[in-house]
Each structure stands twice: as structure tokens, then as C-alpha cells.
Symmetry: C2
Subunit: 336 residues, 2 copies
């Protein structure tokens, strides 16, 4: 075991899009463990859209990452030392490990991973927070039912790609919107979406959604916001449900973008729009994970990872993810 | 009984704000009754915001009023002839009687009114569609609970003034937004609102709402839309409920107004926004009416009417109502 840690810090708060200048790599000593703690050699770290909010000073739904603090992020790794009987050396764990080579955790702050059940990196994606987000968004917030027509934006992302497949498993007709032909092909050819289109090659989203969803939309799972969401709202069926999961098109704006006021659509369609955070369902993760793991094993649920090599490339991966450079879940693999 | 009817027709479809030129008064014969019908001498007709939508060609949630058709509107009156045993001469009824002196109705299309229980004009307001809208919006869509902080826009209107009082009856803390000092005074001094302000004398609605609702907003009953709704959304509490009842600030626009995209607020607050139409609760009106009539008798529920005299003034009343010239419910009283 190396006695030096490598960490990526938030160097300054970005205004607008983050760039490499907002991050800083430092070498620090690996911390001494206290009782109840374990030291993890981090193998993969995550880049997720919500992290952009945590880089801001202003209150998000979680406290901001301090300037000169380690970038907080989900990660998975192998336990290399332990001062708690609950975690053993050699075990694999996942938790908010941060963008760093070595992380201190505890039994309460981590969950054990079985590398034989699924690759441990899936704990950052299909079997992690993004997968849980898709699951509870569809089943709890939208309460989807077989036969419904479901539209998913950001459909080739970590959450959207899982959401579309769960909706298919539940017997829905699923359409997706994604950025680029490769993603569209993946959604339709491999994940079984009934339809999808490349938003980058389209300007009339309202008409395109109408054509893609000829029976309208009973449920809209929104990861992106902006004009795609406007267009989706114009295509809602009576009593449609809209789950606002993410608004990635807006996260690098310093003030809200202007768009048409469309709340009257909600009256006309008696539609419901609800924002949600997956953390509110934490007490039911294990039950959902069991079901999702079953679907994975049965081949009903597929996933793809876009793997970036090297902790030092985490900032670039994060920025690239917000630009849509990932297909499926983007993870950063640390040098072994 | 006069054998001539006076009717107000939709002369042409307004673009933007309606004016007198979009209406036309005609004299026509009083129609002959068929079996099952009754003839009503109309005593009051209603002017309601939703009627603006029905003047448009494009699909609203109800079919448009045809050009040269009688302006469809709720009304109350006295039966002057009947060819159905279910309705007797001399009885009072309410229904979609239209802007006209005499209307044909049927037992199915009307409800009987008891002039001893409450003035019949209340069937257009507190004991009519607006009252039902307030009731079901609060109790069903928002599911308000005692102790919650409720904000109501358009608070001095037919719906808002009832909504605020029902929320008070349910044990909520109620704040209102209305146009003009007279309305604000009425809300606070007579209806028991805990706070209210005049939106016409304020430019920073976000700050003003924050000051008026120091514990935030658990429920927002929206009648107006636009920047007031934007400001309300910025003041939501965790798991707040927003009922989109009306968007009167938008009804005379030919395309949606631009406003800040605020859906992220719904994520941050895990808030729910839902549009509704009172007609969906029609099978429970009688139960609600019974309760509301009780509150009226107990003095817990008060109402005010802004009465415009003369059928020929219905267009001006309608336009005035959309400008906020009414305190409480605006009705048009026909010459006796």
C-alpha cells in the first residue's frame, strides 16, 4: 500500500460551464484510521449531473462542496485496512468515496458489494444511484402501468437508459430522446426502445415527439429540461404524469433560461408534474436492488459503461458527461 | 311572458383581448319547447375566466363556442314554461343557460335551486362552479392539512376568495395576492386571511411572498400564472403541492409568454404541481355543496358579488372581470 493519496479538489467555483481550471490535483498523506473506520483503495469513481449543483455556493438540495475540498462523488473500491469488525480487508464496498485514490469510510457510510454478482462498477450505475432513480421515478412518482406510452429524455444516459428498460419490463411502450445517432441506435437495437430520435438533428421537437408517440404521452421521465421538456408537455395525454428527475440542460446556466410558460397544459390535461430525489427512497433501495439484480441476471436489463481511465481525467469525464459524451453510465477507472 | 328573446352572440374570435366588437346582440323568437324541456327566464348570468378559452378556435378542454353562437355561460333563472314533469313552472334552476333572456333547459342539464337557502346568484359563485373549484382544488388536489401555510393567487376572485376561507376552516395559515388595496383589505379584514398584498403595488414578488409567508409555502393555489407563480415557486417548502387552477394572466395572449424555467425548483423541493378541472369532480358536487352550504349558514364562509346590471353589459363585465374589476364573484343581473 502506497502511503500517499491523490485527490482532486474543487479549486474554485465555476461560473457557467466548469473547465479544468476549476479542479486541482494534490498529493496528501493517506489518513490514519480511527476506530470504526476502514481504508478503501478506490477503483472507480462516478461523474453525475447532480455534482454540478454541489459545486455552487447557493443552496442546492445538498450542502455545497467547499472550495479546496475533495470533489465528493460516489465510488467503489477494495478495503485495504480496517479498524471495524464490520468491514474486512479485501472486501469491496461502495459509498461517497470522492475523487481520490484512497478514501476513509465506515460500515454506516458504505455498502458491501459482491464482485461475483455483478461488476463492482455497476454499483455506480444500473445497480447504484442512477438505477434507483430510474426505478423509483417510474414506479413511485409516475406510477407507470402496462400499456402506457412513456417518453424519456436523456434516454441514453445512466438514468434514462435504465428507466426505458424498466418501463419496457413493466409493459409500457417506450420512446426516447438522446443526443446522437449512436445512442439512438443503441436504445432501439439493443435496449428495446420502441422509438427514439436524435435531438441534435431535430428542431421541431413538438412535431417529432408527436410523430414518435402517435398515441400521445402518458408519462414523461425528464432528465434534461429546456425545449425538449416544453415539447413533451405539448404532447401529454389526459392525466399524464411527469417526473422531473433532472434538468441537465440548465445546470451550467447562471440564471434560469427563459422558456414558454406552459402551465396551462397541466390544466388542459389534468396532468401532474413532480420533482423527486432518489435519496427519499433510501429505505427501500435493498428491495429495489434485489429486483434489478434479478432483471440483470435474466438479461432483461442491459447496461453500458463509458469508462474513462485515470483519476486525473475525472474532471474531463465530468464535463464530457454534461456534454453528453457518455453512452450509458460514465465512470472513471483508477489506475490499478 | 315576452315572445322575443335577447341573446348575445360571439360575433368574431378575438385576437388578444376581447372588446365589444367581438359580441353582438340579437333579438330572436323564444324557442318552442319540445317534450322534456323547460323554458327559463334568466335572472343572472356568469362571467368566468374559462370562457375566454372557449372563444378560441383551437382546442381547449371544451369545444369552442361557434362564431354567431350564443355566448355559453352559467346562469340561473325562473322556470316560465315546462314540458317535463321533473321541472315545474315557478321553480328556480341553474345551468349553462347562456347570455340570453330566455333559455331552454332540461332536468338533466339543470339543477334546482332553493331561493330560501341562499340567494340564487350564489349558484354562480360560492355555491356554484367557482366554489366547487376551490373546494376540490384544496381538498383533493392539494390535500391541505391543518397547520400548513397556503398561498392563494387571484385571492379576491370568485375561486380564490372561497379557497382562502376553506383553507382557514381547515386550520391552515392563509396568505393571498390580489389586485388593489380594497381587495387586500377585504381579504384580511372580512375573510380572515392571515396576510395579503396588492400585486399591482409590488415588483419583487419573490421577496414579498417570502416576507408574507415567513414559514414558506406548503400549498399554492394558482389562479393567475405568470410572474406571481414564478415567485411562488421560489418560496415552496419541501413536498409542497401546487394546484394549477387558472392562469388568467395568460388567457389573452396569443402565444405563451416567456418566463424563467423553474422546474428545478420542483426537484429541489420534491414538490408536486397538478392541473385540474372541477368538472372531473361532478359526481361529488352535491356532497361538497352540502358542506359549503353549512359553512355559509354558520357564517364561516362569506362571499361578495360584484353585480353588473343588464344583459347588454355582459361583454363589458366579462372583460372587466379579466382585468380584475370584480371583488368576489362577478355576475350580470338581467332586468327583472
Amino acid at each position: 500500500m502506497n502511503h500517499l493519496n491523490t485527490q482532486i479538489l474543487l479549486a474554485s467555483r465555476p461560473v457557467g460551464w466548469p473547465g479544468p481550471e476549476h479542479f486541482r490535483v494534490v498529493t496528501t498523506p493517506v489518513p490514519e484510521l480511527e476506530d470504526g473506520q476502514a481504508l478503501v483503495e478506490v477503483l472507480y469513481v462516478s461523474v453525475d449531473p447532480y455534482m454540478r449543483g454541489r459545486m455552487r455556493e447557493r443552496a442546492s438540495y445538498i450542502t455545497p462542496i467547499p472550495v479546496d475540498g475533495v470533489m465528493e462523488a460516489a465510488g467503489v473500491g477494495r478495503v485495504v485496512a480496517s479498524r471495524t469488525p464490520e468491514i474486512k480487508e479485501g472486501e469491496y464496498v461502495g459509498g461517497m468515496l470522492g475523487w481520490q485514490r484512497y478514501a476513509v469510510t465506515s460500515a454506516k457510510a458504505s455498502r458491501k458489494l459482491d464482485p461475483d454478482a455483478a461488476p463492482i462498477s455497476t454499483a455506480l450505475g444500473v445497480l447504484g444511484m442512477p438505477g434507483m432513480t430510474a426505478y423509483f421515478g417510474l414506479l413511485e412518482v409516475m406510477e407507470i402501468k402496462a400499456g402506457q406510452s412513456i417518453l424519456i429524455s436523456g434516454a441514453a444516459g445512466a438514468v434514462g437508459s435504465v428507466a426505458g428498460q424498466i418501463a419496457k419490463i413493466m409493459g409500457c411502450r417506450v420512446a426516447g430522446i438522446a443526443g446522437g445517432e449512436e445512442k439512438v441506435k443503441w436504445l432501439v437495437d439493443e435496449l428495446g426502445f420502441d422509438a427514439a430520435y436524435d435531438y441534435r438533428a431535430e428542431w421541431d421537437h413538438k412535431a417529432r415527439i408527436a410523430a414518435m408517440c402517435p398515441d400521445g404521452i402518458d408519462g414523461y421521465f425528464d432528465n434534461v429540461g429546456g425545449e425538449i421538456t416544453d415539447a413533451a408537455l405539448m404532447n401529454l395525454n389526459l392525466r399524464a404524469r411527469v417526473a422531473i428527475c433532472g434538468q441537465i440542460s440548465q445546470y451550467n446556466l447562471e440564471k434560469p433560461e427563459m422558456g414558454p410558460r406552459l402551465y396551462f397544459q397541466l390544466i388542459q390535461k389534468r396532468a401532474r408534474m413532480e420533482g423527486f430525489l432518489v435519496f427519499d427512497y433510501a429505505d427501500r433501495y435493498s428491495q429495489a436492488l434485489e429486483r434489478m439484480t434479478g432483471w440483470l441476471k435474466e438479461g432483461k436489463l442491459k447496461y453500458r459503461e463509458t469508462v474513462v481511465e485515470g483519476l486525473e481525467n475525472a474532471p474531463a469525464a465530468f464535463i464530457g458527461m454534461m456534454r453528453g459524451e457518455n453512452v450509458g453510465k460514465m465512470v472513471v477507472k483508477l489506475a490499478g
